[in-house]
């Protein structure tokens, strides 16, 4: 098993200096979120993450979840850990007190997710999905649905799964076929879903599916999709789980990573039809689901952050003790070699930048939900919209690099499962795929987000970042100014480009976006550290490293963005594609 020490000083620094957690406590309804309270909660969460969740991470990988006689069982220890997690109140952190939550900021929950994911990302996926479902129910559900479902999901007695994907409908949800038919006063669902994460398991007494399906009169495509609550056990009048609903797990997928997460193929309505309760309005299901998905997309970015932290710690611990070669005639730990330090400092800088981006974005989620001034709420919501694809895709792309680097630092032993570091790399591989592939995130950024509000959103950000140029440490200013100019040039290009060029430039633009923003957020941390803030001692150095080694990547990225679809000749593939047999 790889080590895990909760990086609390750094987490506190980013909460305070980048996300402005103390200012968030002045938002309506957050007066109780005082720094000492959050500190105490972080402390306890860190303890739980390190002592209970972290040791289960490798166990989950080795045992995986299994399907036996139709029953899904999680890996040894998961059930008990989940009970402690739920009893600890960690499932309801951000939700209203009226429904049993603790009403704390999303920003704070981002810090908690950072810990949970580093300790055991696969475990955290289940509470993560459940939080998304609660969001959807609180926004779109009836009061009765909130009382019956949201309260139990908030307390963690029940968990939720999101059920969108079908064999022919992955990215393109408009193609989905699951049907809902009215029968004796109920909706009955028929169809098959695939890839349903924690669709069934043994950690909770009931499992609530949020299922996308079509009504009989539905228009075709994405405008004809409705959302249903489809519990495993139909709750009786007292809210207790009653009769078994008509859905069943047919199979669990055999995957590269996240073995402890059961990925289910689910059949609805093999007999009389699975009873579903409409959530929100008919045909408006995709909009409801997006409440859940936007939240979940940010959360997948947090998974990338947490996994990276864990992999980095393993690599650092290894590099300190692995002796190889000599320096000045004496045996040296590999940490002493510039190339190994390069890998490790790069990881650390990438993690700091990811953490800064995730928490900072969290602060806009809180402002969008709570600011007293409606104009501020709207501005914050716009900022969240702009940053969501960047958090999701940029952080999960960097997680590939960091977990890859952690193996590289281990040398041959990184490739051997015994050290445990390969698990982080395997687990990371799903992150750019689910919750909308990173390709789709990039298209969302250049297509939808850059076009919103007459294309103003990235330029508002540019204005804000430009103002930083006068206050960040002087040694960073030139690099940052040049970086910002490249960001502006890339944004101008993409906003004016044709669909074909936009689509081709999207991925490079998203990376350029992240690298630029990362530089500015690190610089803000460097500024705070220079002013004496504790916990950020490394940030001036990390910001310098970023400006020297990562920000310059945007030179190449700008060139690639501006080349658009140049050279993407379909013939280059067609000629070969015609020779590949179709299996």
């Amino acid at each position: 098993m790889t080590v895990f020490v909760p990086p609390l000083p750094e987490i506190r620094f980013v909460l305070r200096e980048i996300a402005g957690i103390e200012r968030l406590a002045t938002l309506p309804g957050l007066a109780h979120a005082t720094p000492d309270l959050l500190d105490a909660a972080l402390e306890e969460a860190g303890k739980f993450a390190a002592e209970v969740l972290a040791p289960l991470n490798a166990v989950g990988d080795r045992h995986g979840a299994v399907l036996e006689n139709g029953v899904v069982r999680t890996a040894p220890g998961f059930k008990e850990a989940y009970r402690t997690f739920r009893e600890g109140g960690w499932t309801g952190v951000v939700f209203p007190e009226a429904y049993g939550g603790q009403d704390l900021p999303w920003t704070f929950n981002t810090a908690l997710a950072d810990l949970w994911n580093a300790a055991n990302m696969t475990f955290e996926i289940c509470p993560l999905l459940t939080r998304g479902a609660v969001e959807a129910i609180l926004h779109h559900g009836s009061e009765a649905q909130k009382r019956l479902y949201a309260t139990r999901l908030i307390s963690g007695e029940w968990t939720a799964a999101m059920c969108l994907t079908e064999p022919q409908a992955g990215t393109d949800l408009g193609a989905l076929r699951t049907r809902a038919e009215p029968r004796d006063g109920h909706w009955r669902l028929f169809g098959q879903k695939i890839f349903i994460t924690f669709g069934d398991h043994d950690m909770a007494e009931n499992i609530v599916h949020l299922v996308l399906a079509r009504l009989p009169d539905a228009p075709p495509g994405t405008k004809g999709i409705s959302l249903f609550i489809v519990p495993k056990y139909l709750p009786g009048p007292d809210g207790r789980p009653g009769p078994r609903n008509d859905w069943r797990v047919l199979k669990l997928e055999h995957k590269v990573g996240i073995h402890a997460s059961p990925t289910c193929v689910i059949a609805y309505g093999e007999e009389e039809g699975a009873v579903g309760f409409l959530l929100g309005e008919p045909h408006r299901g995709l909009a409801c689901m997006f409440t859940m998905m936007n939240n979940a997309r940010l959360a997948v970015g947090h998974e990338g952050l947490g996994l990276s932290e864990r992999a980095f710690q393993a690599a650092l611990a290894w590099a300190r003790t692995r002796i190889q070669g000599r320096i000045d005639g004496r045996p040296a730990p590999i940490l002493a070699f510039p190339d190994v330090r390069r890998m490790l400092v790069r990881m650390r800088a990438q993690i700091a930048a990811m953490r800064a981006l995730c928490y900072w974005t969290g602060s806009f989620v809180d402002r969008a939900a709570r600011a007293a001034d409606p104009a501020e709420r709207r501005r914050a919501a716009d900022r969240v919209a702009l940053l969501t694809p960047v958090v999701k895709a940029w952080c999960t792309d960097l997680a590939q690099e960091v977990t890859h680097g952690a193996i590289q630092v281990h040398g041959g032993m990184g490739f051997v499962e015994e050290t445990g570091v390969a698990q982080h790399w395997r687990d990371a591989r799903i992150l750019p795929i689910y919750e909308g592939t990173n390709g789709i995130q990039a298209i969302d950024l250049v297509g939808r987000k850059l076009a919103m509000a007459d294309g103003r959103l990235p330029w508002d950000l540019v204005d804000e970042l430009r103002a930083d140029l006068d206050t960040v440490p002087g040694e960073l200013r030139l690099s940052l100014r040049q970086g910002l100019e490249r960001f502006e040039a890339a944004t101008r290009y993409v906003q004016g480009a044709s669909e074909e060029h936009k689509g081709a430039a999207a991925a490079a633009y998203l990376r350029l976006f992240g690298h630029t923003l990362g530089a500015f957020l690190l610089a803000r941390g460097a500024r705070a550290a220079a002013a004496g803030a504790t916990g950020g001692e490394a940030w001036p150095g990390l910001a310098r490293f970023w400006c020297a080694h990562l920000l310059p990547e945007t030179l190449g990225l700008l060139a690639s963005v501006s080349a658009g679809a140049e050279g993407l000749d379909p013939a280059l593939l067609d000629e070969r594609a015609s020779t590949v047999p179709i299996s």
Binding site: V5, H32, T34, D36, L37, A40, A41, E43, E44, K47, F48, V52, T84, E87, G88, G89, W90, G92, V93, Q102
Partner: protein, 249 residues
């Protein structure tokens, strides 16, 4: 029945400590601090007594600088009802702590003082015994099981020979050992509630106790570093080395 639980703020057990360069003590500047693990066990046991309907109120006490409030909040988050901080900048040695606790016992009239057998920083293992002596109360140290009935505590003690079972009349002082229980994690709702629970601050002067240290530190040094081992070729060589070099046989 009221239970008094003293809790000490110490360097976290995961932290590797360093000796100050002038050998005057341990350098604790900037280190992570937390509740003495034995005191966590005492707090947990008090909460279990309350959950079983035996204890009615749990009062946590800590002594030292204002930061000890954090340790008290931890105890409150676990389930203590209220807290007392005896605030002082003076370094507190076991006898001073025992005297201060005696003064608090006089104010609070607990039936049981449940405390860690020792603190992991100075490993003194004295305070409980001194407190019992000063109060003239029975004591049961190193408890690995505690049962309370009919105004007495039956305590299983971990001693070298095994487990010794004794009965002490209440009020009494009981010091707890590692195997008594496994402390719970504080829940988030309880951490939030802890902020609203009462925390009183007193001073040694107000309690009429002079906490001035009685012992002087001569020198604090690290244990000698382990030397690298050597391979021996034969049993004979091993025995010879044990005799001549190690001098153990």
């Amino acid at each position: 029945m009221r239970v008094l639980v003293p809790v000490k703020r110490v360097v976290d057990y995961n932290v590797k400590i360093r000796i100050k360069s002038d050998q005057s003590g341990v350098d604790i500047a900037g280190l992570k601090m937390s509740m003495n693990p034995f005191d966590e066990i005492a707090t947990e046991e008090a909460i279990r007594l309350k959950e079983r309907g035996i204890a009615t109120e749990i009062v946590a006490v800590s002594m030292g600088d204002a930061k000890c409030q954090e340790t008290l909040r931890t105890a409150l988050a676990m389930g203590a009802d209220r807290a007392i901080l005896v605030e002082t900048a003076v370094e507190l040695q076991p006898l001073a702590v025992a005297k201060l606790l005696k003064a608090i016992v006089a104010r609070e009239q607990p039936s049981l003082v449940l405390m860690g057998k020792q603190a992991i920083d100075d490993d003194s293992n004295q305070t409980a015994q001194m407190l019992a002596g000063l109060l003239g109360w029975p004591q049961a140290t190193f408890a690995s099981k505690i049962e309370i009935a009919d105004g007495a505590a039956t305590v299983a003690r971990e001693v070298d020979e095994g487990i010794e079972r004794i009965r002490v009349r209440l009020p009494a002082v009981v010091s707890v050992d590692l195997r008594l229980n496994e402390p719970r994690y504080a829940s988030l709702p309880n951490i939030m509630k802890a902020k609203k629970k009462p925390l009183d601050t007193l001073t040694p002067e107000a309690l009429g106790v002079d906490p001035t240290p009685r012992l002087d530190y001569v020198r604090v040094e690290e244990p000698p570093k382990r030397k690298a081992g050597v391979k021996v070729a034969s049993v004979q060589e091993l025995v010879a080395k044990l005799k001549t070099e190690a001098g153990v046989i």
